[in-house]
């Protein structure tokens, strides 16, 4: 599995996360919105997975392994509001609370 709940309750993304990971990831973050998502082992993630991270606003533990994730997506995710749900304004315009 490339998405799983760790023993300490954090959610771990690793390797290349396919589109199929989106649904279990959504379930995990819905179950515990405060859970930290550890994506240090994540090399690639499908857009559907990133979309969940953006929408849920979970706190992330990084940096991720993949270049593109680290360079372009980590800053965006870090800038977005934590504690989902519903952030109507574009995520990048918000400061992390």
């Amino acid at each position: 599995m490339t998405v799983e709940r760790d023993v300490d309750g954090s959610i771990r993304l690793s390797g290349a996360c396919p589109q199929e990971d989106a649904e279990p990831l959504l379930r995990l973050v819905s179950d515990d919105p405060t859970a930290i998502v550890d994506w240090r082992g994540c090399e690639r993630a499908h857009t559907a997975v990133i979309q969940i991270l953006l929408a849920a606003g979970s706190e992330l533990l990084g940096p991720p392994k993949g270049e593109f994730l680290k360079e372009h997506l980590a800053p965006l995710l870090a800038a977005r509001e934590t504690g989902a749900p519903a952030s109507p304004a574009p995520a990048f315009m918000r400061k992390r609370t």
Binding site: Q19, L25, I52, P90
Partner: protein, 736 residues
């Protein structure tokens, strides 16, 4: 007007012309990359030119067109008649702006609105193909600006907005992966398209993202990469001002800077401050346009130093440094020509760009010289009469030599004023296209002999008459598509516009393969309208009958159904051609087409005249119009009320006494015989009674100006050898 604006106007007009030609060629051969590339380059250069003169509105409009063309080049955009139409509209607008700028010296006040309309049009165009909502430039700015704020945005050439369809994931698409692989990706922004729903109703299978990105890649490259999702992407080429300071200058910039350097290096006297200011401003703008802000600021600083002392040296040094800082291109093959420095290029230039006014000044001087030459001939004759034979023969010899030289001078000078017929021919493909489209007819214009040259005045004066004839050909000559099909003709009508030289004349022909003119119908109409009686008409050849449509007020659209409108304005057309000293004739074969032929003098600068005397004054009559001179017994003149006429070879010819017509006192006249000049005014004969008939002269005609400009019956003036002013008559006006 400053030199730069002048240069801008000239170059922009050339570029508009080039782009127009390319677009029309492109419409003919949409698969040919050549015209598309060339049109794209012309638009691109226009944009640069607009930047240099700080004409932002034009820059925006051209930029929008350039974007669409870039997409077309990338194959993302079909080349349609509408696309070409929009680009042509943009060029039209630019021409209008240029005219306003030429008149007022600055960009027109309403340019921004016009530019908005054009930009909107082009954006709507790309939107209709993209199915994304129409974006105004403001919308673009709203998403591009946050991206540009990112530290890596510096060298961006292209902004991309990608709105993946909600069902993208079902289609196995991975939008972010696509963007990750984007050529030259610099900055990325991802935001929800709709506000995020709460997690318990979140649909993980629906894509709800807007992805914005910046890239150093060119729009075409990006479009290529995003080909599969092209309908979901907006690609926006950013202004190309991101080059860094210190890089090699583009060639055009080098040229401009070199020109400024030359300007600064010339001794200027009192004007030095103005010259410094304007040169520095130009250089500053060029650098800003290239995004070389630091260097631009440097130039400003040098200007501030130079101005108080009026010494351009610091500025010259700074510009030199800019030009010299350019590394030579690294890879140059041994067989390649070394780059010629701009200064040398000027020396070897094969042609010069000279204002028409300057040439006309030389032409006028040559004309004056001709007058003096004639005066010397006159003096030589008088010296002979006074008995000083040695002096007289010496003068005569010198006069002959002077005569030869002035003739040669005049010929060479007039040769400078020539223009190729292409100058006006080029404007017609566009017009034919528009006329044919609006009339729902398929027509193509074939142009032959556009390199044939004639005097500028002749070429330019031909435009209106040709426009009239070509419009008639498309409107009335070419049949509706179903009629052409029924007549077994190809769907696409052909209109041939050709020009060639015949001796001292230029021939221009407009030939269509339309329905032609039916002489039977024309005979009927002519008889009905009383232009001639039925017998006379029956005895006229078909071509003669057809040429009746040039007669004043011959027909109206309602009167001659099949040639509707051909009579309207044809008489005006003929008189304008005759004013140039030319002729126009028409030949037509019913069902096969019509040929209109213009025969024009190569130059209008010299006119052959016959001099006559009347009421103690000398007058000139254009030699072309003179049929013959007749010594007419007075008892052959019949009076019809106030009018006079006589019969010559079976034709009744109206007679006008020139002195009376011009309101001069009639001097003593021969009681038995009248000296008359019979003239031909486009088929109509008329006669002038004069006191004396003089000699034949070639003169340079000066049009009347000032108070005399509005005088009826007078075409212009010239000076005679003995210093007398010769008034040249406009026969058309006089005998009407």
């Amino acid at each position: 007007m400053n030199e730069f604006l002048e240069q801008f106007l000239i170059e922009s007009r050339e570029l508009v012309e080039q782009a127009t030609q390319d677009l029309l060629a492109l419409e003919q051969t949409p698969d040919d990359d050549g015209p598309l590339d060339s049109a794209f380059r012309a638009f691109h250069t226009l944009k640069g030119a607009a930047g240099i003169v700080e004409f932002a509105a034009m820059g925006r409009a051209v930029h929008a067109a350039e974007d669409v063309l870039a997409e077309a080049r990338a194959g993302d955009f079909p080349i349609t008649a509408e696309l070409i139409g929009d680009c042509l509209t943009c060029l039209d607008q630019i021409l209008q702006w240029l005219e306003t700028m030429e008149a007022s010296g600055g960009p027109p006040a309403d340019a921004e609105q016009a530019a908005d309309r054009l930009v909107g049009r082009f954006n709507a165009r790309s939107a209709s193909a993209d199915t994304t909502p129409t974006l105004t430039p403001e919308d673009h700015r709203a998403w591009i600006e946050p991206l540009l704020a990112s530290p890596s945005a510096g060298s961006a050439r292209t902004a991309i907005r990608y709105t993946p369809a909600a069902d993208s994931f079902f289609k196995d698409e991975d939008p972010l992966a696509l963007m990750a692989a984007l050529p030259g990706l610099l900055a990325l922004n991802v935001a929800p398209r709709q506000p995020w729903p709460s997690l318990d109703v979140f649909d993980p299978f629906a894509c709800n993202l807007v992805i914005d990105a910046l890239s150093v890649g060119l729009a075409a490259e990006i479009a290529d990469h995003l080909h599969q999702v092209r309908d979901q992407v907006v690609i926006h080429a950013l202004p190309d001002h991101r080059q860094r300071d210190g890089e090699r200058l583009p060639d055009r910039a080098t040229e401009i800077l070199s020109a400024q350097l030359a300007l600064l290096s010339e001794p200027a006297g009192d004007a030095v401050a103005g010259r410094l200011g304007s040169a520095a401003r130009v250089i500053h703008n060029v650098l800003l346009h290239l995004g070389r802000n630091a260097e631009a600021a440097e130039i400003e600083a040098r200007l501030a130093e130079a101005l108080p002392t009026s010494d351009p040296e610091v500025l010259i040094a700074a510009v030199r440094a800019l030009l010299e800082a350019q590394p030579l291109p690294a890879e140059r093959h041994a067989d390649e020509q070394p780059r010629v420095a701009p200064a040398d290029a000027e020396i070897i230039a094969r042609s010069l760009r000279v204002e028409v006014e300057r040439i006309d000044a030389v032409v006028n001087l040559a004309g004056e010289l001709m007058v003096v030459k004639n005066a010397i001939g006159h003096s030589a004759r008088r010296a002979g009469l006074d008995g000083g034979t040695d002096l007289a023969s010496a003068l005569k010899d010198q006069h002959a030599r002077l005569h030869r030289l002035t003739e040669e001078l005049l010929r060479s000078v007039l040769a400078i004023r020539v223009l190729p017929l292409g100058h006006i021919f080029r404007r017609f493909p566009r017009l034919v296209r528009e006329m044919a489209t609006s009339l729902g007819k398929a027509s193509r214009l074939v142009i032959v002999g556009e390199s044939t040259e004639a005097d500028k005045a002749v070429v330019e004066a031909l435009f209106e008459p040709l426009l009239h004839v070509i419009r008639n050909a498309v409107d009335h000559g070419v049949e509706a598509p179903d009629q052409r099909a029924a007549a077994g003709k190809p769907d696409n009508a052909t209109i041939r516009l050709s020009g060639w030289r015949e001796g001292e004349h230029i021939i221009v022909e407009v030939v269509d393969d339309g329905r032609g003119i039916d002489p039977r119908e024309l005979r009927q109409t002519a008889a009905q309208r009383g232009f001639a009686n039925a017998d006379a008409l029956a005895s006229m050849a078909d071509d003669e009958v057809v040429n009746l449509i040039f007669a004043p007020g011959f027909s109206t659209a309602a009167a001659v159904t099949h040639v509707s409108g051909r009579g309207v304005g044809m008489d005006a057309l003929r008189s304008s051609v005759e004013r140039l000293g030319g002729r126009v004739t028409i030949h037509s074969r019913p069902t096969q087409g019509t040929t209109v032929r213009f025969t024009l003098p190569f130059t209008v600068m010299t006119t052959g005249l016959m001099t006559v005397e009347s009421g103690g004054q000398a007058f000139g009559i254009p030699f072309e119009a003179v049929v013959e001179t007749v010594r007419l017994p007075r008892d052959e003149i019949s009076r019809l009320g106030a009018a006079r006429a006589f019969v010559m070879r079976g034709r009744t010819i109206p007679l006008v006494v020139l002195a009376e017509a011009l309101g001069l006192d009639r001097g003593p006249t021969d009681a038995t015989v009248a000296n008359t000049v019979v003239v031909d005014l486009g088929g109509q004969l008329g006669a002038l009674e004069v006191d004396r008939i003089g000699e034949r002269l070639d003169v340079m005609l000066k049009p009347m100006d000032g108070l005399l400009a509005g005088m009826r019956g007078i075409a212009g003036t010239t000076l005679l050898g003995d210093g007398q002013v010769l008034i040249v008559l406009d026969l058309q006006e006089l005998l009407e």
